[in-house]
Symmetry: D2
Subunit: 383 residues, 4 copies
């Protein structure tokens, strides 16, 4: 098996011309695509419709190619877009395609498996049943890839938020946990449970979004109102998968923990010089994923920050900008994927970081098929 | 001579209690203060009144101590506040005090000289006369400190913007250059000229804010409407000044040039590990100054950015956040001073960076007077 | 002939379920739709993708019904969405459908004609040729409707902005007028010329966006980068058109000229009580269109305003909120369409206002077909 | 007795030159000033320091004149500044001065009384004791003015928020009600109780900020963290007070209830024409106070609004803009004072409105002393 990663630079959130051309020229096979992850240039808040525009655009492109209606593409391919390209962040999307290319059996390359939870009842949202079901699916995917939990480096979850029932006879609205924060918290703990990062004995309804000492170092969760089942992507390095790409993770202890990024690179054999990858190594970076949070205690390393008291810029946009800046500077690459709100994803004020890089030591890019590294750029528009 | 640097962490822009206590306890002598530079938590735009609040507060504190009216303090001490503490930036202010403490004659410590241009006529603003007069004052201050231009590491300018005359008989409003951009551009070129970074032959009215190949690597200019004369602080390392603090600069070639920050640290003998100063070395950092700009070409290193097309967050707030994040991460210290709009201050899209650190190799802090390193923190308020 | 107006309240910019149901139940015939105008809940700035999402959604719905590709729907139906639902503004869209229903010949009901300019060359943009060509099309549409210029009450223009040629051999970029402000200004003057509001003798390249004494009281122009030809909708009351709906306009002299709104209502026989239409009359309002601008002189009626000096909220969002508030309050109806930047659309600081109302005196709603008044509401989502 | 009202238009929040000149020329006597209320051009959020700048500036001006330290002025004069001049709102401040001028005994003119609650313990904040103590002071002030509750038209409260004790031995932080929302809610109910708008029997801890059917039509409350005692201004029309100014109130049932503003004017004998006061009557308006709120149910009169789902502009800035626009348009005067968050101040989604006008029918302005009507305008600055 082989996971191939293609990176595109759209001119706007609805621009799918890059992928269209890659498919038209045979570089990408539509039916091999399992996930598309991207950053779009909205504000990342409730009223960010750049994500919807991207999803609709990919549906229009891929529906006919997959023989389904545009709106059904989302059921066959994970489409996960995060709004907010603050600071230097470059809007981009990554297409993950899997084929059965022959890898050397001793390879341990990037592997990817996608699964879905069952639908959640409203009373399960943000509670133990959501933790357990999320953990069950992660476990299944892990077994499917035949990897140890230590080989899993990123679990991307688009978490369900079942609607609160309208029936007034049921429990009072205040007790429902059908919102984004609860859904993210429970889902992240589900990942942590599956990967052995927390013990089942410590998990119960009351510790969710309260006991921040328990967390996953690899969960990256967003939640979507109205989504009934959670969508889960497990990224790992797996034996028998072609070794062209690899993924490695670490966890930032706080929003300034740039050393965590360096540790990831070291594990990949990449060496920043004066704080930044040399251009040659920078070009090997294909994906960088991190969660950000403005520390709710109002300070970082003893210094006050003002991300929570700014009446005009939300803490979410502030914190994404910080983590994006650090990743972009260390990697020498600003096409990074930072999303915010990290309940039980890394310690309080910190968060996981995972990086996907091409493993050129496996052979030259040409030998492995230069097409895998092709980037299709849309027209870049300047102000 | 000796320049001492005191750093304070106010609870809000009007909080001068830290300095008040330092003066009350004899740590700082009011009459030795020559400059106070700080970051305040406004938006940094026209309607940012946090700066005015800070200036008024220092006037109220220092006027009685200096035997002048509160509003006259600004005429005797450089008060320069930059609004906008985006991301992790910690609001803070630095108090620079000079005394005639005995330094070893072979010392080369932080030296500071302050001067003023003459008042500018409206027709001079943003034109060659402003360049020349700015250069004249910088040269005078440099000679006063008896330093080579290579010893100068930061020239902080609060630049004049004379008001456009109301007289309709004079030239048409369109031709005046009485605005912030013109004033910054001409003043920065004045610094460049004084420091030998550009030759006089290449300077003329038409190249200002147009020929970006000419710039200073050490100018840091803000402009203030209604200010008639420019205020200039020259920071250098000078022979015969006590060596407790030193200043070093470099120039970022673009907004991601984190290597420039590393180079500054290297020159100071400081060694980041995994991209960040160890805590022990981090504590030696007392000031970090940089200019930021969102590259007007709309991309950085070939990647599109969206700082200019965001309808809700200004490019200024975006770019400050990026540079502040990089500085804070490398230094392990978020009390950094980043201001924006860098016409002729570093290359297009880049900007100067200067760092002040305590030179502990000169002896233990205690030996040099621990008080010099004392930080007075106001109460930190969390959300 | 008959123009029918249907109003829908989408749950988000991509929600076209209301129109879908109206078509499915036979209330609306897809092939009779000539224009869809709406307000979407983006920020109205360059990075507002709510408009693109709406257009793509209508394409997906209507393409199959019209027998064309989704992306071709825009060529057959005017789709004009304005971002920014500041304050109380309710996101909504109006569907205009024309059929050949028999109107009494003495009727003078709402009539609508749509046309297109030829494609503009870059050197024509924002100059006299754009004025003249726009005027030509407006004149043609007016003749098509067989109305006097006094019967025309709204000319909605989506104005072309041809791309600047890449060829460096052509004139310097500074001289091009290929941007939104120039395109809006020239297009509005074209409307003014066609309607006899300005004389051709006073029009030339140099007065555009400079001589604000010349303007149209009925033009409402937005401009779209990359659009090669302008799309023009002329709304009038025309003899022989069924009289169920009527349109009336007036012009606000400044942003507080609420009396202009009252004058429109008076002309329609509607009577606000204590500044607001009674509920029964409020229900007759089906469309309200206005342009807003923050007076560039910085004051309104001698009072300073701060819309231009706010570093966090753009003047565009501020001014839309003001006009939307006035319209919503007077009409008792917050589904209003206010767009901003009104060069040569009304006097400096003011702008046109036009209102569409059902003319119930022509007979009961039931008699005219209750369906014409049907509103299809999507689910309203509360925070 | 006589209350005089002076209105000033500062060039920025720190500009007190208008009042300074009025005092210097003998128009205003510093020692007669009892309150200064103003709108400043900040964002009105936590990080709005325009208010602090105004307070400090008035302290600097008035301290020497009152023979006290600048920071003590706040203890002698109510200084209440509300940030946020969205839309057309004109930054301004009103100075209320009381002297013992001889009014006709049959006069019923504007009267003003100021008082303070005792300091509140943390456990009292946002609970019944705060209601009762607030009511007690309002009652005392009412008796002092010798007016019926029906004569009271505005009770402006700057409400205390005692700090939560640091002692961990005391009750858990979750149970404290030491925040702005609780303080506003309890204080407003205190006003309602004192004015007989609610019965004591229905007041208890659990109904605060929950049972929105109980409210005051005349309370206008803001809360200030760290303020230990609440400051209360009662505005009434009282027998024996000179009749030059009068105050009248009404309550807006929702954010579009412009009729409430008209009702206030009718009671004053003022007649809007086409929705707006004629210029002659507009000039009689000296103060307009209202509270705004974005309806938390997400819709107004059955129409969705998006004030709560905007990720970039807070609901507070949105709602202030709406109410300010309505007031400014009806009054033909944009120097209006709208503040936001109206717990128990008017019904849910609505709020009180009170207007102060000069009563010219009592005699010509000249006869009553033209100086009372003098407006001192600072230089207006345009962008």
């Amino acid at each position: 098996m082989r996971t191939r990663v293609f990176r595109f630079f759209p001119a706007n959130p609805g621009d799918v011309s890059g992928l269209a051309e890659a498919i038209a020229t045979g570089v990408v096979q539509a039916e091999q695509i399992v996930a598309i992850l991207g950053k779009t240039e909205g504000n990342g808040a409730i009223n960010d419709f750049s994500r919807g525009l991207a999803i609709m655009s990919f549906g229009r492109l891929l529906g006919p190619l997959l023989g389904c209606a545009p709106e059904q593409v989302e059921d066959r391919i994970v489409l996960s877009f995060s709004g907010g390209t603050e600071g230097v962040t470059c809007p981009h999307y990554l297409v993950f395609a899997i084929d059965d290319a022959d890898g050397h059996t001793e390879d341990r390359g990037l592997a990817l498996a996608v699964g879905y939870t069952r639908s959640f009842a409203p009373e399960e949202s943000g509670r133990l049943p959501m933790i357990l079901e999320t953990a069950r699916v992660v476990g299944t995917l892990q077994r499917h890839l035949a990897v140890d939990s230590g080989d899993v480096h990123l679990v991307q979850v688009k978490a369900a938020i079942p609607p609160v029932p309208a029936d007034p006879g049921r429990a009072h609205a205040r007790e429902w946990r059908c919102d984004m924060a609860w859904s993210r918290g429970a889902s992240a703990l589900g990942v942590a449970l599956a990967l052995g990062e927390v013990s089942a004995a410590r998990l119960h309804d009351d510790m969710i979004n309260r006991d921040w000492s328990l967390y996953s170092t690899r969960a990256s969760v967003s939640a979507k109102p109205g989504l009934l089942r959670s969508e889960i992507c497990v990224f790992a390095n797996a034996r028998g998968w072609a070794g062209e790409f690899q993924i490695v993770h670490d966890v930032m202890q706080d929003i300034l923990d740039v050393a965590a990024i360096h540790r990831v690179l070291h594990k990949m054999g990449l060496r920043p010089v004066d704080g930044q990858l040399p251009q040659e190594e920078s070009r090997r970076i294909y994906g960088a994923f991190a969660k950000s949070d403005a520390d709710p205690r109002g300070h970082v390393r003893g210094r006050r920050h003002t991300m929570w008291t700014d009446g005009d810029i939300s803490d979410m946009r502030h914190s994404r900008s910080v983590i994006s800046s650090l990743l972009s500077a260390v990697l020498g690459e600003s096409a990074v994927y930072v999303s915010t709100r990290a309940e039980h994803q890394g310690p309080l004020g910190g968060g996981p970081v995972a990086i996907i890089a091409r493993n050129v030591s496996e052979g030259s890019a040409a030998a492995n098929g230069a097409s895998a590294a092709t980037e299709y750029e849309g027209d870049m528009k300047c102000p």
